[in-house]
Amino acid sequence: MDTVFYTLQDFMTHSKGITYLVMAGILIALPLFWCFITDRDEKKRTY
């Protein structure tokens, strides 16, 4: 990535912005992955 940062503010805004996007992706992907792991398990009654 050739982005040039002139201030720490620029750097933090950029890297944190990307980090939040990555985190959002992970928060969506991990529950889906959990469903993939468990969807063939026998359903347990919880009531």
């Binding site: 990535m1 990555v22 992955f33 993939f36 792991i37 969807d39």
Partner: protein, 390 residues
């Protein structure tokens, strides 16, 4: 379990015994060389590379792979997953022997074994992470010894003291979890003092978290891997309960390890994003890093997930081999391969054959000890006098 396998009707010169014997003889010769001629006689260590594979492999990998002890006992006694109960004793034994081998290997690296208790009892460096690691390992190996001791006491017939220790199981488990959390993460934190030496892809302010989380799935993988070896070579020592529960243990642990490993890959990605180190991924170091993350974290995580979905025990066992190799690769990357990455290649460290042979010697001692204990003590089966006890 069959009772007919006793020492007397076994052959002494089996391939296992011959190979182990040769390794132990070579190891003893190297031990004499190390402690009489010094580090320079047997290692390629120097001032640029004071830590070699005795730290990177024997200690860091040994501690991570021995995490199965606290993970299994926490699952069983703290989280109440009693279906994993039959895996607790083998896991505790593996952890105890793993830590014992770590301490043995540490003696080879630091020398003067009689001074090993000094940092604990004589000269405490309370501002040092190494002191915290040393203290935790000292305390945790004591806890593991006590946790393992009921098996030895049942074998020896000391009922009263065995029953007393069994009553302390929950307290010991809680101690084990606390001490493991502390020193597993501190081992990662050790490398935070070397930001200029460790490659930026592996260096992160989250190193303690990476080390702790990776130790959990390393422990889970090691329990599955060790269970598959026990099934292959010590099948006759297992009782009905152990045999009946082993598939559930492997698939349950595979499910947990799979989710953890994907989460771990996710936080590694966050580490790169927060430091904005994306550009390093396009270099040859980046390809090596991606091989570690995709090939040895995400691939076994996917294989574990498939194994848990399909109830495929064989796949779970193969995935555990890849996961264990991945942990070894990660610890070696951080401590040896990506450490001092910017030095000229002539000044880089590569272990001597004697260092590698000493590591193999130490692992062999652990394997022989495990085999002896699992053969004679109630590790893979319940002692007939204590069937109703935990």
């Amino acid at each position: 379990m069959s009772e007919e396998t006793t020492l007397t009707d076994k052959k002494i010169f089996t391939p296992f015994n011959i190979i182990c014997g040769i390794i132990i003889v070579v190891g003893l010769i190297l031990t004499i060389l190390r402690f009489t001629k010094g580090l320079g006689a047997v290692t390629n260590l120097d001032h640029n590379n004071p830590w070699g594979i005795w730290i990177g492999f024997d200690l860091l990998c040994g501690v991570a792979l021995a995490a199965g002890g606290f993970v299994t006992s926490a699952a069983c006694y703290i989280f109440g997953l009693k279906r994993f109960h039959s895996a607790v004793r083998p896991a505790i034994l593996t952890a105890f022997l793993g830590y014992a081998m770590v301490v043995l290997a540490l003696n080879y690296d630091v020398g003067r074994p009689w001074r090993l208790p000094y940092p604990i009892f004589y000269s405490q460096g309370t501002t040092s992470l190494l002191f915290e690691v040393g203290l935790c390992v000292f305390l945790y190996i004591s806890v593991l010894f006590v946790e393992y001791s009921p098996a030895a006491l049942e074998w020896l017939g000391f009922k009263k003291i065995r029953n007393l220790i069994v009553r302390m199981t929950l307290v010991l488990t809680i101690f084990g979890v606390i001490l493991s959390t502390l020193h597993q993460s501190s081992l990662g934190a050790l490398f935070m003092i070397a930001p200029s030496k460790l490659h930026p892809l592996w260096y992160s302010e989250y190193l303690p978290i990476y080390f702790f989380i990776s130790s959990i799935f390393a422990g889970l993988s090691m329990v599955i891997f060790e269970g598959s070896l026990a099934h292959r070579f010590l099948h006759h020592k297992m009782d009905e309960t152990h045999l009946a529960e082993s598939t559930g243990v492997a698939l349950g642990f595979a499910k947990a390890a799979s989710f953890l490993m994907m989460g771990y890959a996710g936080i590694k990605l966050i580490g790169i994003a927060i430091d904005n180190h994306w550009h390093y991924l396009a270099t040859s170091w980046g390809q090596w890093y991606l091989l570690e993350i995709i090939g040895f974290v995400m691939l076994p995580a996917y294989l574990y997930a498939l194994a848990a979905r399909e109830k495929n025990l064989i796949l779970a066992r193969w995935a555990s081999v890849v996961a264990v190799l991945g942990i070894v690769l990660n610890r070696l990357n951080i401590s040896v391969i990506a450490f001092n990455w910017n030095l000229p290649s002539a000044q880089r460290y590569f272990p001597s054959w004697m260092e590698i042979a000493t590591s193999i010697f130490i692992i062999t001692i652990g394997v022989v000890a495990y085999r002896f204990i699992a053969t004679y003590m109630p590790i893979l089966y319940k002692h007939p006098d204590y069937q109703e006890h935990q």
